[in-house]
Assembly symmetry: none
């Protein structure tokens, strides 16, 4: 579905930015690059900045006009740094990505159009777009590097695509192994731990049962919000057991004594 999305760079002056854009695209799983009248392409600088996204550069289509670049497109977004005199439907990158994916999934062809480094897109070019995309930025320093702008939009497209695929929640969750429910300590294991902790704190003289100072509720709150897993629980219990031995004056394993 991502192959339905083309990135169109209009009249780019610095080839390094073409390379940067290609790298950002490939990082985010996009592959179709269209260059409208680039000032310097192909170029070693583009290759260097692409840093391995050579296939995207090699497959780039070079055309003479924006019109040529948009042949076959169903939906076109044009990046716009500032508000224009002619009001146009304006979206932020997240809204843009959500529309992109919504249409790409239906097999439609989408274009994301980026303008010149200094001058952006002309009014005429912007009027060829269905939507304008504005990347929210510091009003005093609003012009993003071209590669960075491609990165932001491509990133949002990937996030929207992953959300649709349902991959995001699945892959991210499995990576966060300690939060998997099967590995978490159970409630009763946590209770046994708190009991053990309380006894140990009494043993070392830190907790005075007659003046508990809300110590246990505070420690419960701390460990409770950590989602302690089983292997951590066994470390914590081990520490308590050793501490109790020490408090009882039993020989312990310290090597330098």
């Amino acid at each position: 579905m991502l192959q339905n999305i083309r990135v169109v760079l209009v009249n780019t002056s610095h080839p390094g930015n073409i390379g940067g854009a290609a790298r950002a695209m490939k990082n985010m799983g996009l592959s179709r690059l269209v260059l409208v009248d680039p000032q310097d392409f192909p170029s070693h600088e583009a290759d260097a900045r692409a840093s391995g996204a050579d296939d995207v550069l090699a497959g780039a289509q070079v055309v003479a006009t924006l019109e040529d670049a948009l042949v076959g497109c169903n939906l076109v977004f044009g990046t716009s740094a500032r508000e224009r005199r002619i009001p146009w439907p304006l979206v932020d990158p997240r809204e843009c990505a959500s529309k992109v994916i919504e249409h790409a999934v239906q097999g439609e062809e989408i274009a994301l159009v980026f303008g010149r480094e200094h001058a952006g897109l002309t009014n005429e070019e912007l009027q060829r777009c269905h939507f304008h995309v504005h990347i929210p930025s510091n009003p005093d320093f609003s012009s993003l590097n071209l590669g960075a702008a491609v990165q932001v939009l491509a990133y949002e497209v990937r996030m929207a695509w992953l959300a649709l695929e349902g991959q995001l929640s699945k892959t991210e969750n499995t990576e966060v192994a300690p939060e998997r429910s099967s590995e978490l300590a159970t409630m009763d294991e946590m209770e046994l731990f708190y009991e053990h902790l309380e006894k140990t704190l009494v043993d070392i003289g830190f907790l005075d049962p007659e003046k508990p100072r809300h110590l246990m509720p505070r420690l419960r709150r701390l460990y409770g919000r950590s989602s302690v897993n089983r292997s951590e629980m066994s470390i914590l219990r081990g520490i308590l057991t050793e501490t109790q031995k020490v408090a009882r004056g039993e020989p312990h394993k310290r090597k330098d004594q």
Copy 2:
């Protein structure tokens, strides 16, 4: 509030990337850049790529170690390209940004840490972070340009900030001011705690410095994700101090002995 957020670049080799990062930061309204042992800085290439974000470069703090860069920080995010052997709380850029703003609004200090161009952050550096951030990317081409990675995170931070600002302007300002009573422990306080914990575990014979069994990384992960606040920190430190007294055979306060 955005001034509570520092961007930390570790051991960057290409000065152009420092410039690119500075530009991305300023575009998104961030201004505090910390460079840990940069290989080439200051540099004309950094200035050129900063493209007007000279003030960010001029104000950049250059330090020798990641530890120095994190002094005073309450919450640290480290970018991670791949899964690590020791699983760590992992967030995507959006979740990261939401946590960043949630804490920055309370006046806490936040760091976003980015590793070396080719090697990323070391395991030891990653273990100093509360959370790892992974930018979802093409599994076959996953390594983003450093400036592009900074751009994505800074963009998400700005989006989260704008969303909050939107809420702020809608509701009464006073309603949103959160309590400061549960201020988080800073990174240096956490480091002192880990040092104290490690010594104590050696003292009671639980930790054998010659066979550390990943004990400290595991405990760092556990306490790191709990966002320990200052009053909890003083309880934990108090427990360690008492435990050490007991281990040294000093008289302790246990009443029933």
